[in-house]
């Protein structure tokens, strides 16, 4: 259970402060799949950083299971918009990082890492350094790394942004499948409205200046979501509703 209560976040800038989030309220139930969409610069990453414990709200508070978030923890896995791979570690070592931290033994670690490396299709690059990977491969490595520690809350900031269409569909399906098998809370940021609707229980639409929630759209479509569903009128209706919620804002930040 994640609770965001009247969270404001301002950044000091030259000659004053910039209001990145101006009073955000949101409750996310356990095991819910929430996607966040909104124009660039509306504060999506900021919300995620606060949930991850990497930023503290200027006022208001963010709670996980009634406890205030005071720092990051392995219960909340994060996929960063900028990949944030450790450049000195191979793909495998990157994926194993969280497992080592958690004290998982060598053999088990290796096995689990291999599983997630295969999942994101990097089997042939398991021993490559990040600098030899393409943009999409880096992002897939970051996904494998976050999945590997199996956090109960998964915070994902545009995780499929640099991934090609096919892999993207596959990763979406994988994500949903895993989620339905072992329920967990997922907060998923995307700028792709289709993706937002396809994945979510609820779509949170944010607006900029100041960053705020303008609409929350419940997606009452059944799981498992299939490719046919994408073509269904119900999906299209929801998609259009979210689209117009994003659209009929002031154009760009």
């Amino acid at each position: 259970m994640i609770t965001i209560q009247n969270v404001r976040k301002t950044f000091p800038i030259k000659g004053g402060e910039f209001v990145a989030l101006g009073g955000v309220d949101l409750d996310i139930a356990d095991n819910e799949f929430v996607t966040v969409v909104g124009p660039s610069g509306c504060g999506k990453t900021t919300v995620m950083n606060i949930l991850a414990g990497l930023e503290t709200p200027t006022s208001g508070q963010a709670l996980v299971r009634e406890k205030e978030i005071t720092g990051p923890g392995p219960d909340r896995g994060v996929i960063f918009q900028q990949y944030a791979l450790f450049p000195w570690l191979t793909v495998r070592k990157n994926v194993e990082f969280g497992l080592r931290t958690a004290g998982v033994g060598r053999d088990e670690r290796r096995e689990r890492a291999q599983h997630f490396i295969d999942l994101v299709g990097l089997h042939d690059f398991a021993d490559a350094l990040p600098r030899t990977l393409s943009g999409g491969m880096k992002q897939r490595c970051a996904i494998a790394r976050a999945y590997a520690v199996n956090p109960s809350i998964l915070l994902m900031d545009e995780p499929f942004g640099a991934v090609d269409a096919l892999t993207r569909v596959r990763l979406q399906e994988q994500l949903l499948q895993t989620w339905s098998q072992e329920k967990r809370t997922v907060v998923f940021i995307t700028h792709d409205v289709d993706e937002a609707v396809f994945l979510a229980n609820r779509v949170v639409v944010m607006a900029a200046r100041p960053g705020r929630i303008v609409e929350i759209v419940d997606v009452d479509l059944p799981y498992p979501r299939t490719e046919e569903l994408r073509l269904s009128p119900a999906f299209t209706a929801l998609r259009n509703r979210v689209w117009s919620a994003v659209y009929h804002q002031e154009p760009i930040a």
Partner: protein
């Protein structure tokens, strides 16, 4: 997806580091505490029979040296030398470090000598400096110059080598030639390294002062300490050490300020 069971306790221990710096006791207070502690240790040592003068004794000697103007003269003389040598050293080190980092040939030609001279004690340079440059201010400044140059050139070089290739590519595709890339990409991008070099170089400059002022100095903190050493005049040596330390610290603070201005674009902890 395989189930992986990992410890999922919520970390409540440490607050996020970026905030940590901003609140709490201000740093200058810790600085002050640290100085007080240090002086305490020194006093303790001097009381437990070690052959070093106690703070009041040094303070008294310092008062005398200030009163008769010696300290002011010495400080001025030394400060001038260190500043001149340091500034020249840094000013040369940055382009040379760039050349070494950028052009394989320059690197091949210069590196052995830079490495070689870095290991040569300044004391050994002095006779040569005197032969080549006489006994005026030039050889003194030269010895200091060499110390700061050598510390700084290595850092600049490393900085250039470490500049993010993507940024250089970005500049190249925007039409920048080597000169522009140097001045507008490599220098700003390697500023953190260059600043390490400057700070280490500044330390070396002061540390070389005593050696430099072995060359026919009429005044200066290094000279004063040197002659005080012959006279076993420990309080004067301590006054000299403290003056050098304080001046070095002040100059370092100026560099830090410059750094804050120059690298405020960085995301830092």
């Amino acid at each position: 997806m395989t189930v992986v069971q990992v410890d999922t306790e919520v970390t409540t221990g440490s607050p996020p580091p970026p905030e940590r710096r901003r609140r709490g006791v201000p740093k200058s207070l810790w600085n002050a505490l640290s100085v007080v502690l240090g002086v305490g240790v020194w006093w303790g040592f001097s009381l437990t029979g070690f052959d070093i003068p106690a703070p009041p004794e040094v303070l008294k000697r310092g008062g005398e040296l200030i009163a008769d103007g010696t300290l002011a003269d010495d400080v001025l003389a030394s400060l001038g030398r260190v500043l001149a040598g340091f500034v020249l050293g840094v000013a040369l080190a940055i382009p040379v470090g760039f050349l070494m980092g950028w052009y394989g040939v320059a690197r091949g030609l210069l590196e052995p000598w830079v490495q070689f001279f870095r290991t040569i004690p300044p004391l050994a340079i002095i006779p040569l400096a005197v032969v080549l440059m006489g006994i005026g201010e030039t050889p003194k400044i030269f010895v200091i110059f060499l110390a700061s140059f050598l510390a700084c050139v290595i850092a600049t070089f490393q900085g250039v080598v470490n500049v993010d290739k993507t940024l250089i590519n970005a500049a190249r595709v925007l039409g920048a030639k080597d000169g522009t890339i140097f001045a507008r990409v490599v220098v700003p991008a390697s500023t953190p390294f260059i600043l390490v070099g400057m700070r280490v170089g500044l330390g070396s400059s002061w540390a070389t002062l005593v050696a430099a002022e072995l060359i026919a100095a009429q005044q200066g903190l290094g000279y004063r300490m040197q002659s005080a050493q012959l006279y076993y005049d420990l309080p004067t040596i301590f006054v000299g050490l403290i003056s050098i330390g304080v001046l070095g610290l002040l100059m370092d603070r100026v560099l830090l300020l410059a750094e804050r201005r120059l690298t405020n674009w960085q995301e830092r902890r």
